[in-house]
């Protein structure tokens, strides 16, 4: 057997259940590996070995019994308040039980650490955080993606086999792509969200799994959903693709890899590829940004903005202050655009089962200057990435990012989106795609995970 920590999430769970792996030894190995590998990637910002040992001692015989996992710095734990990657998050927080924590605990999982994240969840790159940036295990000078930067980097570096992220505007799918993982953004409302400081306000954020492959996302997702995400069949999959200015503004190598993956998926499922029109996509991005940013303004007052923690990054301070200037009329119109996009998508999903396009238009950019080169020119990664990530958050539909290739030694991801409640179909399609490419990309390991190690 390979190192137990290198087994997939479901492999670890099965090995513990079968008595082939000792859960205590696995936990200690995970903590040791975090000590060994984490300094280079800053994925895990806090461990609490005694708390983890207590969780294991009390772990019920659930589907993740004894399996170590990481959770994003976005939910409270009974012994730790979330910091949202920021020195000042304009919200009251306190230690407590969140929905994802309870789901993990009740499944028998052991939380071994808190994952880094982009400050305030306000970026797709992960290069800004009160803890310092997380680094991409494929190349530590590149962005790991955000905002679930730490959970993704932790799984990619094989510190753990599964992590819980959150996706408010692509924040599971971007880091999944940059780090070569599978990341599932659930249908709005299907996964555990209570205890999040914006749970009663946000209409875009969901919790979701980041794992190496779809099988592991199915297992961890089932825990977060509180229901089994059963395996089905993607046979005859009708794949929708869009040809428009934005969808085609993609780095050539990313485009080639995604086009091949779409053809592989079509062939593997015996399905077909259909061109679809979605003009609402052009306005979906702005609508999402306006809604997501205005929903988080409840704690904002001029007085608080004038007394922000000086450790909050200049970027965070500037963006918080700029949010105050967003016109209310634009927010109202954004909600109308949301309705229009939802209505159009409902029609589209009568014609196709999934919509496919690159998760992000270029591979992970440098940490120091997160810019991407696209056919239209040089863009900030945030401006480029949001174009592909926003629609699912705006409308509530589920989406998944699947690794499908490599460029410059960095992973490329394909995004599949499906109709409301068809999360299982996305996992089925992702598994079909894995089968079609011989699991080449889900089993690829970055240098940071391939170093000789005793744990």
């Amino acid at each position: 057997m390979s190192e137990p920590l290198d087994l997939p999430l479901r492999g670890q769970a099965a090995a513990i259940a079968a008595g082939d792996v000792d859960a205590t030894e696995l936990l200690e190995a995970a903590l040791a590996r975090i000590d060994e590998r984490n300094p280079a990637i800053n994925a895990v910002v806090e461990t609490f070995p005694e708390r983890s040992r207590e969780m294991l001692a009390a772990a019920p015989a659930g589907p993740l019994h004894g399996v170590p996992v990481v959770i994003k710095d976005e939910w409270p734990l009974p012994w730790r308040a979330q910091r949202f990657g920021a020195a000042d998050m304009l919200a009251r927080t306190a230690p407590g039980e969140s929905g994802p924590y309870r789901a993990l605990r009740d499944a028998g999982a052991v939380i071994v650490g808190v994952g880094n994240m982009h400050e305030l969840g306000a970026g797709s790159t992960g290069n800004v955080s009160v803890y310092g940036p997380a680094r991409n295990p494929w190349n530590p000078e590149r962005c790991p993606g955000g905002s679930s930067s730490g959970p993704a980097a932790a799984v990619a570096a094989r510190l753990v086999a599964g992590a819980v992220g959150a996706d408010g505007v692509g924040s599971i799918r971007y880091p999944a792509t940059y780090c070569g993982l599978t990341g599932l953004k659930p249908t709005f409302g299907r996964s555990a969200m209570d205890g999040h400081h914006m749970a009663s306000l946000s209409t875009t954020i969901v919790s979701g799994p980041l794992c190496a492959d779809a099988g592991d996302c199915r297992l961890l997702g089932s825990v977060l959903y509180g229901e089994e995400l059963g395996a089905g069949d993607a046979a005859g999959l009708r794949i929708g693709v869009i040809e428009d200015e934005v969808s085609e503004d993609v780095a050539p190598a990313v485009r080639v890899a995604c086009e091949k993956a779409i053809e592989d998926l079509r062939a593997a499922t015996g399905g077909d590829v259909r061109m679809i029109e979605l003009p609402e996509l052009a306005t979906a991005t702005l609508a999402t940004v306006l809604i997501a940013n205005s929903e988080s303004l409840g704690g904002v007052t001029p007085q608080r903005l004038n007394n922000l923690d000086p450790e909050l990054s200049p970027l965070g301070r500037g963006l918080l202050k700029y949010r105050l200037m967003l016109p209310a009329v634009a927010a109202v119109k954004a909600h109308q655009l949301r309705t229009m996009a939802r209505q159009r998508l409902a029609e589209v999903f009568e014609e196709v089962d999934v919509i496919a396009w690159p998760t992000v238009p270029a591979v992970a950019p440098p940490l120091e200057a997160p810019l991407v080169e696209l056919p239209s020119g040089t863009l900030t990664a945030d401006a480029a990435n949001v174009r592909g990530g926003a629609l699912a958050n705006l409308t509530g539909i589920p989406a998944i990012s699947v690794p499908v290739g490599s460029s410059e030694g960095l992973p490329v991801g394909l995004q599949l989106q499906a109709a409301w409640g068809r999360d299982e179909l996305l996992l089925d399609a992702a598994e079909a795609l894995e089968g079609a490419n011989g699991r080449r990309w889900v089993e690829a390991a970055p240098p940071a995970a391939a170093e000789p190690t005793g744990v």
Partner: protein, 67 residues
């Protein structure tokens, strides 16, 4: 009257109106955000969506009611 997209006009005026202070770095961040967001916001504001229905309390876990 022409719409002003100029960050140099808009941001300082808005900050004064709201009573919010900002240093030079924060102003630079706000200018960058403004240059990115303001053109599409103006485009959005120019859309007459008065006859477009908006789901009053959309259930985002499901498809919208059929039109």
């Amino acid at each position: 009257m022409e719409a002003s997209g100029s960050a140099d006009d808009f941001i300082p005026a808005a900050l004064v109106a709201f009573g919010v202070e900002a240093d030079e770095i924060e102003l630079a961040v706000m200018r960058a955000a403004h240059e990115l967001l303001w053109p599409p916001i103006l485009e959005l504001l120019s859309l007459d969506t008065g006859s477009s229905a908006s789901e009053p309390a959309p259930d985002l876990s499901q498809a919208p009611p059929r039109r």
